[in-house]
């Protein structure tokens, strides 16, 4: 049987409470990703999408613990020691962060920041690594790469900094790239360019991509499959086109309706009443039951299980299947 590139099983992420207790921020998380595949993870703040990507990278903060299994090429990352993890991180998994300015070292030239990983991980000489850095900058379509590799981050624009961030992650030729809101801080025209660069690299290098974003439009443009998260739970998963055109979960439907667009006759936008609950204040039963327009009494009773509607399509909602019946 083919082992997928990444398989997450029963992942839960806990935070230590002040009274010694533990609270689950993320629970019952699972996903698989094959080589070269693209998965979009959608969620609002507090959905656990960033924690999930940090858990895969082994970068969870100290107060947070993960249980379950994160298998990369068959090896459980959660059971690995720091040294073993270090060689996976960077070499097999690359990460692109949201803030291109804070993610870069202001006191080091961008060329050296790209070269650093290759020197440490691959044993290249600095001279060779710096040459390679210029090639990488060229691949992320940085104009005048040789000159710009000797500049510091402050001299670059936001789009250029994000290209440097991509080049750093790319230097190790990772099998899996995790991009956490990579274009949120960028202008739309620059965003389009950066997304195209990511897409080209994925195609050329056969890299798998997890794109974390709150922007459904970005997900529609980039990802074949989509996973919708809310309050640390999977709500819905499937082919992006299916999820965004035929959503099964009321939360996904609500999100799609709330996308700003002109309403006829100066009408009002549709909203989801209320706000995303903090992880300490989740409602009983389904985590969306306090805001859901389709809720029934049973929604408050138990957390609904994750169900497979069709192959490749999953949903967490007791109303999802009832509604589809004629």
């Amino acid at each position: 049987m083919d082992e997928p590139l990444l398989r997450i099983e029963d992942l839960a992420i806990f935070i230590d409470g002040p009274d010694g207790g533990r609270q689950a921020i993320v629970a019952d998380m699972a996903l698989t990703l094959a080589a070269g595949e693209t998965l979009g993870i959608v969620g609002e703040s507090g959905s656990g999408k960033s924690l999930l990507s940090l858990a895969v990278m082994g970068l969870l903060p100290a107060a947070v613990h993960a249980t379950g299994r994160i298998l990369l090429e068959g090896r459980n990352l959660l059971a690995m020691g720091d040294d073993a993890l270090c060689s996976v991180r960077g070499r097999r998994i690359g990460m692109i962060f949201q803030e291109p300015l804070t993610a870069l070292n202001p006191a080091m030239t961008v060329g050296d920041q790209i070269a650093e990983g290759m020197v440490i991980q691959q044993g290249l000489s600095w001279r060779a690594a710096r040459q390679e850095a210029i090639v990488l900058l060229d691949r992320v379509r940085m104009p005048d790469a040789a000159r710009l590799s000797k500049t510091y981050p402050h001299a670059l624009s936001g789009g250029q900094r994000q290209r440097v961030g991509i080049a750093i992650a790319l230097a190790m030729k990772p099998a899996l790239m995790i991009a956490d809101e990579p274009t949120t801080a960028l202008d739309v025209t620059v965003q389009a360019e950066v997304l195209d660069i990511l897409d080209d690299l994925r195609r050329d290098a056969g890299m798998a991509l997890i794109l974390v974003s709150h922007d459904l439009g970005v997900i529609a443009r980039m990802c074949a499959r989509t996973l919708v998260l809310y309050a640390g739970r999977r709500m819905e998963e499937g082919a992006t086109r299916d999820v965004l055109t035929k959503p099964l979960n009321p939360y996904t439907r609500g999100l799609l309706r709330a996308v700003p667009r002109r309403q006829p006759e100066g009408g009002r936008l549709q909203t989801i009443p209320g706000t995303v609950p903090s992880f300490a204040a989740r409602p009983a039963g389904c985590c969306f039951s306090d805001r859901c327009p389709d809720r029934i009494d049973a929604c408050h009773a138990d957390e609904p299980p994750w169900t497979r509607a069709t192959p490749g399509r999953g949903v967490r909602c007791i109303r999802a299947h009832g509604e589809r019946a004629p």
Binding site: Q191, A192, R221, L255, L256
Partner: protein, 334 residues
Amino acid sequence: MIETPLLDIRDLSRDYAGGGPFTGRHVTRALDAVSMTVQRGTIHGIVGESGCGKSTLARLVMALDRPTSGRVLFEGEDLFALPARALKRRRRDFQMVFQDPFGSLDPRQTVGRIVAEPLHVLDGKPGRAECRDRVAAMLEAVGLSADHAARYPHAFSGGQRQRIAIARALITEPKLVVADEAVSALDLSVQAQVLNLLMDLRDRRGVTILFITHNLAVVDAVADRVGVMYRGRLVESGPAQAVFARPLHPYTRLLAEAEPDVTRFGRPDRAPLTVSTAIDLDVGCSFRNRCPLAVARCSTERPDLRVLRDGADMPDRQTACHRAEVLLETETAG
């Protein structure tokens, strides 16, 4: 007789001096001869990318900064010709909502104090009981409850904080609210609530809103009129619906095409235009190096805002493009 517009901006420019002791002085023109009017009771959108001068415009309209040249007329009164005391009195009529709902509220003050603070600058400052009543009424008007006044900002979510910021801006019953990226930091499900609130305030209280954002979809959803800015200049203006349905400037079209859309799957066929060459911004059109329609005239003659030659069926629309007629033809052909 034509009614005086609430806000009349005339030839407004702002230069910032840059450079240090080693690089030589140079001047950046953040805002370049922008003229526009904002009518009462409308939401007037300003869109553009970072560095286009939209926040500089907001600061000048709020009289937080002085222009290099040009005037801002508020109800026909030049804000920068007013004596300091008169300007201070005038400030109750225009208020601002900032982007960051976390950074713009003092964490050590109760919501009641935060919202009441603008009242303290008023002449004939209302008494304590009246202050409390007005704060309570205002909190309810923005969808919070009166007993929230005793709590501190940390107890509120991002959307609720932005409501507090809006309540603070509205407490002096201003005629104009400048909202600079006021919903950009909010989650999708909460963003729509705040946008609806802004439309309600316009319809029920007649508040005029200058709504500044980089997000086209948001402007399209709420704005009555829109101005598109590029590199310090206003390049297109008109009714929001018409501008986005049929752009008259290639930059507006570029923005609209680059905007991700939940109904467009996969990568668009057309590659986005990249900036190829540096250009001399002092002459000609500043968009010419990214423009697919640029001709020789664009690099010698600066396009001014104008009405189209056959613009009879396009009321109130203006574009700063020599090639707008060609743009319209290519659009109908393609």
